[in-house]
Amino acid sequence: MSHAKIAMTAAVAGCLAFALTSWASLRSLTRSESRLQAILQRQSETSQRAAFEAHRYAREPSAENLADLRATMQFFSATQLALRLGGQVPLDRTGRVSSRLEPPQDARLQSQLVEIGNAWDRMTGRIELLIESARQRSTALLELERVNPRLLRKVSELNRLLEAQQLGSPATRDLAQTEAIWVQMSAKEALLYDVRPSPERRERLRALIERFDAGHRTLREGGRREGTLIDALGASYAKGKLDEVQWLWIDQVDVMQRLTAAEDGVHEPLKAVSAAAPEVVEAVDASLSLASRLEEEGQRSSAVLSTVASVVGLSIMLLFLAWAVSFGSGMRRLLQAAEHVSTTREHRPLPVIGRWELATLSRSLERLRVSLQKTLELLERDRSGPRGG
């Protein structure tokens, strides 16, 4: 390979190495922002998933649904913490795969991440209320299933007793029989309220409870009802049975009230969760756009850096080429002079070409040439003088 080619190859390799190094350093500047954006994007999705799972648990308060909800909430919280403070970011809900993240350096982004944390805390506070209410609702439903049949049995026993003992007038016995209807209707209304709560349904339930209370009081104390005289049974054999019905009715009313309150307790936080979820998403989006802006700023900086790097790289390349050309030309002249000395007897001094090593080489060759010339002159003198022998 000619010297020129070697020099050219070295110059190109140098430029390439420089370009690669510049690209790698610029890449490293922008990479962390990209990862942050990806994680923030996922935080937005996770918060929406938590809201969805909260809705699902409110309707089906099973252990599996609760575990799902808890895992999602925890995933968000752990990621949120790592975003703020740096550290291991879980990449999935199991937390088995994780990646390391540096804390953000930008103060605006740090503040924005704190905002996400605040919005998330508000949302999780409401989810916790919802979880508690859903649990109470589930318990109340089970209790209603237990107490209602017992109460109906007790009302039936009361009616049988009144019938068997012929206690009270027919109107009194009619009123006692109506109690069974109120017991059933109120339980049904409570269950319907649980499925689809509405103010009208709540009002109907309240009215049924009042009707039972008034009716039972009339049975105990006597009085007029819709113009008909009802006998007082409070002092009869039936008193004990009336008390028993009352006891279980207190239980049923308590359970129905807990059920409707729990339904409200589920409904209200559910609405609150629905309202809070967008706040989290908005906070995440704000962080996301801030991160994007930061990345754009980073990219603009990188474009300037690239230009600078290109100019510097090109200049270096040109200087290298100029040097290579000058080096090649000097070498060529030196070679020609050396060639001339070796092929002729004409001992012209070799020129000192270039600087540094090339100049040193020229001087060395010149010293060699002078030394060679002196040696040749001594040989010529010996050949022309007397010989010994």
């Binding site: 808890r70 895992a71 909430m73 925890q74 995933f75 919280s77 752990a78 913490l81 790592a82 703020r84 403070l85 740096g86 550290g87 291991q88 879980p90 809900r93 199991t94 937390g95 088995r96 994780s98 804390p103 103060a107 740090q110 503040s111 991440l113 704190v114 905002e115 944390g117 805390d121 506070g125 916790e128 237990r146 017992r150 049995r153 007790k154 004990g240 008390d243 028993e244 009352q246 006891w247 279980l248 207190i250 239980d251 308590d254």
Partner: protein, 650 residues
């Protein structure tokens, strides 16, 4: 879900990132930990840090700020949580392991070992109330009550005779914790109460502040006390070589004066509830005069959303069982349990009739016009109510004065104690160690059996021959003596309560599952008292342990309970109780009848026989077995925590 183990990382990063943003990112909402909740709590408490991890509610194996509560009795004014987040100070405390301090000599090492042993017999449990959304007037009254509570604790320490030791506490975290918990330097847990090394202050003498120290040197001094010296609201002092009884305002003038002033301040804070304000004014006067009857009269008529009781009430932990100790109990009426009041109201006369039937002559049913129990959710207990172990879960008060003598006491049942997850888990483990497999069918972790047991126990205290009932002109204390009278009264309440519930179940008003649950709970409650020594230090009888031994003995006699040589439900312990649910009804009735007849007829010999048979003559092997099993489980050591909006996380 398991998270990366980044406790240290988070903590160190948090500390490393200080003051980088205005929002102070050093406060974190949670921190993961490799340690168990119990270990975290033990380490914090060992350094008297007033923060308690109540429950891993969301199961994330991390300490979330909302899972933490502040311990009232250890408050130190430092900010451990802020705006719902853990502060760097708390993170550092959680990360660090408590330093082990070397004892100077062998005696000190033995003392520290005993202190550790004493503390290990208590399971720290936080009774927590969230006031973070409270209104301004509620916060004012809360503040006033807390201030008054501190004065009551000071008075209580004066009665205990422990006040002077506080300044002598060594710089040793566990010793300080012991003093804060026991409100005295001496030890009170079963394994250490008689250990001479066991004390928070080296060399502290166990001497009550109610009697002169010289008098207490004689172990039998209680029996020689004259009636003049035995008055409930007095302190015995030596004056000119003679013993005199001084009212509290003369024996503790500074403390009672301060408490009176603070009661008046609390009365102003309770302007929203005028009857409570009047009661607190009455309390202030009682501190000044020593006459508690007017305040008691006001107290029994209180209505409204708040519960507050201040004054000297219970004698269980007072030497000689005669002089009540100061306490303060503050709470809210439980709406949830209020249905019990309405239901019991329907049957109270019927219940009195039934009790009279069982008691027999000369007792006749009286009008059951007593006030029904109030169901209270306790917020703060101070003084004698803040026991080192356990708590009063029901009280009929006052114990002295005209109201007590006429049976017009007010009964309260505490519904939120032992309702925490730690207590539930422990109760199950205890049940499995003492009951046979099939008898566990009655066990329930639900709160209903516990609340039912407490509610009926407290109703039953007002039924039948109780306070004010006299035979041959003598009340129960005169007939049986103070300690046995207290035992019989509590035994009556417990036996009658269970019989009445069983009777309600027979009428299908309470489901059988609930009855089984309540009986199983009551059996475990009795076993927990049975597990202790029958007599405390100085030979003082333990009324609850006595009643437990008698009740278990009677139920075994009736065949409702049987101790059999089989494996317990946990599959490890040999020997267990079998509950015969079929024989439960007759067994409970017979037990109730036995004790009611003794009380109604003033049958001292029968009472003495019962004591001899079931208390002094108890089966030592059974007693040892139950004692050994119960000692495996530390008893609940209640602490009280209040979250206020000023420090929203706590």
């Amino acid at each position: 879900m398991r998270l990366p183990a980044c406790c240290v990382l988070v903590a160190s990063l948090a500390l490393g990132c200080r003051e980088k943003t205005e929002a102070d990112p050093t406060d974190v909402p949670f921190v993961t930990t490799e340690k168990s909740r119990q270990v975290v709590n033990a380490e914090l408490l060992a350094r008297a840090i007033p923060v308690f991890w109540m429950e891993d509610t969301n199961g994330n194996q991390a300490i979330d700020a909302r899972e933490l509560g502040r311990v009232w009795s250890l408050e130190d004014g430092r900010v451990w949580l802020r705006d719902g987040r853990l502060t760097p100070a708390l993170l550092a405390a959680l990360e660090a392991t408590p330093p082990a301090t070397e004892a100077n000599d062998a005696q000190e090492a033995a003392r520290r070992a005993s202190v550790d042993k004493e503390l290990a017999q208590g399971q720290p449990t936080l009774v927590f109330t969230d006031f973070s959304r409270a209104k301004e007037d509620e916060l004012r009254l809360l503040q006033a009550v807390q201030t008054l509570a501190r004065s009551i604790e000071a008075l209580h320490r004066a009665q205990l005779g422990s006040a002077s030791y506080e300044a002598q506490l060594p710089e040793h975290g566990p010793s300080r914790l012991l003093f804060a918990r026991n409100q005295a330097p001496w030890c009170m847990a079963p394994l250490t109460e008689k250990d001479p090394n066991c004390s928070a202050v080296p060399g502290a003498q166990r001497r009550s502040g109610l009697y002169p120290a010289k008098l207490q040197a004689d172990e039998s001094f209680c029996t020689d006390l004259s009636p003049e010296l035995s008055g409930p609201f007095t302190v015995v002092r030596e004056r000119d070589g003679a013993l005199v009884a001084l009212p509290h305002h003369e024996a503790f003038p500074a403390l009672t004066k301060k408490a009176a002033a603070q009661s008046r301040a609390a009365a102003q804070a309770f302007a929203v509830q005028p009857d409570m304000a009047r009661y607190l004014e009455g309390v202030a006067r009682a501190f000044e005069t020593g006459d508690w009857a007017p305040a008691d009269e006001l107290w029994t008529k209180l209505e409204g959303p708040w519960y507050l009781r201040v004054g000297p009430d219970e004698v269980f932990f007072s030497p000689c069982g005669r002089k009540p100790l100061y306490h303060l109990s503050f709470g809210r009426m439980s709406e949830r349990a209020a249905t019990w009041r309405r239901k019991i109201d329907l049957f109270r006369q019927d219940m009195e009739q039934e009790v009279a039937r069982l008691a027999g002559r000369p007792y006749r049913a009286r009008p059951a016009d007593f006030r029904l129990p109030d169901f209270v959710e306790i917020i703060l207990n101070a003084g004698d109510s803040r026991r080192p172990h356990g708590a009063y879960i029901g009280q009929s008060l006052p114990n002295f004065g005209p109201l007590a003598e006429s049976g017009r006491r007010r009964t309260v049942a505490m519904t939120n104690l032992y309702a925490d997850p730690d207590s539930h888990a422990q109760l199950r483990a205890q049940a499995e160690s003492a009951l046979c497999g099939e008898s566990m069918s009655g066990f329930s972790e639900a709160d209903a059996p516990r609340i039912m047991n407490t509610a009926f126990h407290d109703v039953a205290r007002n039924l039948g021959p109780g306070a004010g009932w006299k035979v041959r002109g003598q009340d129960d204390k005169g007939l049986f003596g103070g300690a046995l009278a207290a035992t019989l009264e509590e035994l009556k309440a417990q036996a009658v309560a269970q019989h009445l519930v069983h009777r309600l179940a027979a009428r299908d008003l309470v489901d059988q599952e609930a009855v089984r649950g309540m009986f199983t709970f009551a059996t475990l409650w009795a076993l927990s008292h049975f597990s202790r020594e029958m007599y405390g230090p100085g030979g003082i009888p333990r009324p609850y342990s006595h009643l437990a031994a008698i009740e278990l003995g009677l139920l075994q006699r009736e065949g409702a309970l049987r101790w059999v040589q089989e494996k317990a439900a946990n599959g490890r312990d040999e020997g267990c109780f079998q509950i015969d649910f079929e024989r439960l009804g007759p067994g409970l009735e017979a037990t109730a009848r036995e004790v009611l007849r003794i009380k109604a007829g003033g049958l001292e010999k029968r009472a003495a026989f019962m004591m001899k048979t079931y208390v002094d003559g108890l089966d030592p092997e059974l007693h040892q077995a139950i004692g050994e099993r119960w000692r495996r489980f530390p008893r609940a050591s209640f602490m009280y925590g209040i979250r206020t909006p000023e420090r929203s996380a706590l």
